[in-house]
């Protein structure tokens, strides 16, 4: 089998799997911090028990996040060696700083979260919980700075002597607008996941008429935290759409299945059926102006369609070939200043010439037909993006509705009154995971054919190892991860069923007050 396909499949499977655990870690770590803050401020023992119970479920999930996270770091080296060489100078730094600043903090302190209850003062333990929450959130920040650079490679330059991208402006990498939007969008999605998790399981307890004091209090926290986060996800998702329109116009056009450039302001296709062959979208229901407003923040700028963007890619491929040819000459004449100047002029399009390699390994002999094929290859998978995006957004609005209702019911102290609400909350349990996975698909599958947008095609990033090796490790991961998923789910269900009293080994501390219901 093709090594590029196998490597991509392995990355997608392991990343999607890792991302089942990360959002819950992000969200629960902050919810634990909130409930423990309440414990320390009020001194009421029930809040300690609430923290400990959700903490147990957090621990089961956290171990999986750690175990599957190491795979991601290894994989850039094992399966994507040319990628690692080509962009390690830029991409490696945020990953290493993630370890130094964030993962170290979270991993070192998480032990004390479980083992430190008796050994630390109340405030001491709160500091530990805060450290875990801060660590996991900063971890997300640095990972998304690295990922943001893959979407929008700012602050770096190609160096012909070392044949790789090198940092020229680290502050630009750090304050990459794409990274900032993605960070808030992603961690907020994590907070939504944690909130839905707590809300759904508490709803289950209320439906089963048990653990009422713990469930009501947990739901109150989840309702307000979840509502704020769900709103945040949507606002920052919209902002991500705007920043993507600056440098990933093709991704936006594909999400919209917008083949032709429309007169400004472009309308937003709410739903429809993209037709790949006819290059049109059937049965489209359109909302005027909305797309133009989201992506350009104006009423007079155009949003380019797929066909125009392919034409643009064609031009850039031709310019990139000049860069590629110059680079080849420069290799035999390293000090030639004229060649260097010529390279500088076209180096921004070098990546587009590399797109040709898939169709013609000797790029300098590429024909017109090869160029046309390479230009066409810049279109990502339109139907997948179109539907993933719409499903994700639908989930996002559902969360606002769900938490809005929960917030209203909690403010009016009627959380336990309506069975329909509790059932809806319970049934929403899988949705944040669905939305998060779809979000990954939109962001990363939508970036194809690039691994670094406009700089390095995905197909070139792979290692020169045998495809047998990649297939073997892929099968290994599928086997391991399936087994571990069973163990993880089994433990989660078991401890949720046992409930807080048995999990903690003592009845949850009797509350001095009861939330009226």
């Amino acid at each position: 089998m093709d090594i590029v396909l196998l490597s991509r499949l392995q990355f997608a499977i392991t990343a999607l799997y890792h991302f089942l655990f990360v959002p819950l870690t992000l969200g629960l770590s902050l919810i634990l911090l909130i409930t423990e803050c309440v414990y320390v401020m009020t001194g009421r023992a029930i809040w300690r028990d609430i923290t400990k119970f959700w903490g147990t479920l957090f621990g089961i999930n956290f171990a999986m996040g750690v175990a599957t996270g190491i795979t991601m770091e290894f994989q850039f080296g094992t399966n994507w060696a040319y990628y690692a060489h080509y962009v390690g100078d830029v991409f490696g730094a945020p990953l290493a700083i993630e370890g130094l600043m964030a993962f170290f903090l979270e991993a070192t302190l998480v032990g004390l979260f479980f083992f430190g209850w008796e050994r630390l003062s109340k405030v001491g333990h709160l500091v530990v919980t805060a450290g875990v929450a801060i660590g996991s959130n900063f971890s997300a920040l640095w990972i998304l700075i690295a990922n943001g650079w893959m979407q929008f490679p700012v602050g770096a330059k190609f160096n012909p002597d070392t044949m790789r991208m090198e940092v020229s402006d680290f502050m630009a990498v750090l304050f990459n607008p794409v990274a900032q939007d993605k960070f808030v969008h992603t961690v907020a999605a994590g907070y939504v996941t944690g909130s839905v998790f707590v809300l759904a399981i508490s709803a289950l307890y209320l439906l089963q008429k048990r653990h009422r004091p713990l469930a009501l209090r947990s739901m109150t926290v989840a309702a307000s935290f979840g509502l704020a986060s769900a709103l945040c996800v949507i606002v920052l998702g919209d902002e991500s759409g705007y920043t993507a329109s600056v440098n990933q116009k093709m991704k936006i056009a594909a999400i919209e299945a917008m083949w032709n450039t429309e007169p400004a302001p472009a309308s937003f296709t709410l739903i429809g059926v993209p037709d790949l062959k006819g290059r049109k979208t059937d049965y489209a229901i359109k909302i005027p102006w909305v797309l133009g407003l989201i992506t350009t923040r104006t009423v007079d700028k155009q949003v380019p369609g797929i066909d125009d963007l392919v034409k643009l890619a064609d031009t850039r491929i031709r310019s990139g070939r000049i860069a590629y040819d110059t680079l080849t000459k420069l290799r035999n004449d390293r000090r030639n200043a004229a060649l260097r100047a010529q390279l500088d002029e076209h180096v921004g399009d070098l990546g587009y010439a590399l797109l040709l390699k898939r169709f013609r390994p000797d790029v300098e002999h590429a024909s017109e037909a090869d160029i046309a094929k390479a230009a066409q290859s810049t279109i990502p998978n339109v139907p997948v993006l179109f539907w993933s995006f719409r499903l994700m957004v639908a989930c996002g609005f559902w969360f606002v509705l769900l938490f809005g209702t929960a917030f209203y019911l909690s403010a009016t102290r009627r959380l336990a009154r309506y069975r329909w609400f509790l059932v809806a909350a319970l049934l929403s349990l899988p949705l944040p995971w669905l939305a998060a996975e779809l979000g990954w698909v939109v962001a990363e599958y939508g970036r194809q054919p690039w691994v670094i947008e406009g700089v390095l095609p995905t197909a070139l990033g792979v290692s020169s190892t045998s495809s047998g090796n990649v297939l073997f490790s892929l099968l290994g991961f599928v086997l391991f991860y399936s087994g571990l998923a069973v163990a993880d789910l089994y433990l989660m269900v078991k401890y949720i069923r046992l409930g807080p009293d048995q999990t903690l080994g003592h009845p949850v501390a009797a509350p001095r007050d009861m939330v009226a219901a």
């Binding site: 175990a67 080296g77 060696a81 690692a84 490696g92 290493a96 070192t108 020229s168 190892t465 090796n469």
Partner: protein, 374 residues
Amino acid sequence: MSYELLRLIWWALLGILLIAFAVTDGFDLGSAVLLPYVARNDNERRQVINTIGPVWEGNQVWFVLGGGAIFAAWPALYAASFSGFYLAMFAVLAALIFRPLSIVYRSKLADPRWRSWWDGTFFVTGIIPSLVFGVAFGNLFLGVPFGFDVELRFHSEITLLSLLRPFPLLTGVMSLSMLMLHGATWLSLKTDSAVSARAKAAIPYLAGTFIIVFVLSGIWLLALDGYVITSRLSHDAVSNPMLKTVILVPRGWLSNAGLHPALWLAPLLALGGAFAAILLRNRPLLSFIGSALACAATIATAGLALFPFLLPSSSEPNASLTVWDASSSKLTLEIMLGAVLIFLPLILAYTGWVYRVMRGPVQVRDFSGDPGAY
């Protein structure tokens, strides 16, 4: 700061990260390998696991950080070593995937089959990395077949079987005995009663094995050919490993120690640490420091002998990766050094605090009533 000095600092930092990993996570790995021998019933096994329960996660980050630092500071080495040693890396990775769960999930259910399955897993996840790291280091001295094309795309002819040569297998045994020794001094320090006594009794055997294998490997190394750079390679050259020439010369790995006799201190400290672990075994903390010293000095010995090589190529020696032509750009090394200077002291401070909070031996009553314990 000059590019040369930055590269030297990052070479030293790479060593420091590896040493920190061996000294901290090393006793986790060693304890896992010793589990079947030192613990004979469920309570004793839990005692062993709970000695590392609160700290293994932080310890493992030294390895994760080591990987991140190689990616950021030595990207060519990262690409070459991870894709070149593909299946060996996969074995280590599998161990690192299963180990967290064998610690955290094991005692969450009372079923003895569940527990014994995870105990078996824990043992295997200790033994694999301990062996693989040693075998990998041994292979560095022999060189492995790899090269780069004109676009600096790495290619290699390394197979898993080709790595299992006699000398690397011996260094694999060295690393296993070293980490088992470190696990034994840790358990002697952090447990009481029977587990502690068994761990203590194992120290002389493990340290003895380590000392014998270390000396044998040293003698073998004297007989090996070593790699030497023959062209002029500026210490602030561009990071392109294809612009120099390298040859194999007899006894080449001794040239550094020949130039700087003070370097002999490293192997002497490794042996001294192992002897101290034996002689001071009735004072567990000092014995533990002895085995930690043995780990640190062994890695230093290997690093200093190899310098300036990071990964020598046996098939195309000129493509060997060295400190002077495989690093990141000067700017990246500077930025990363800044990050290290800010965060490493913080890491050491809170890690020290965690160990202080968790000080003292683990006893059965510490975990029998605590549902959060492992």
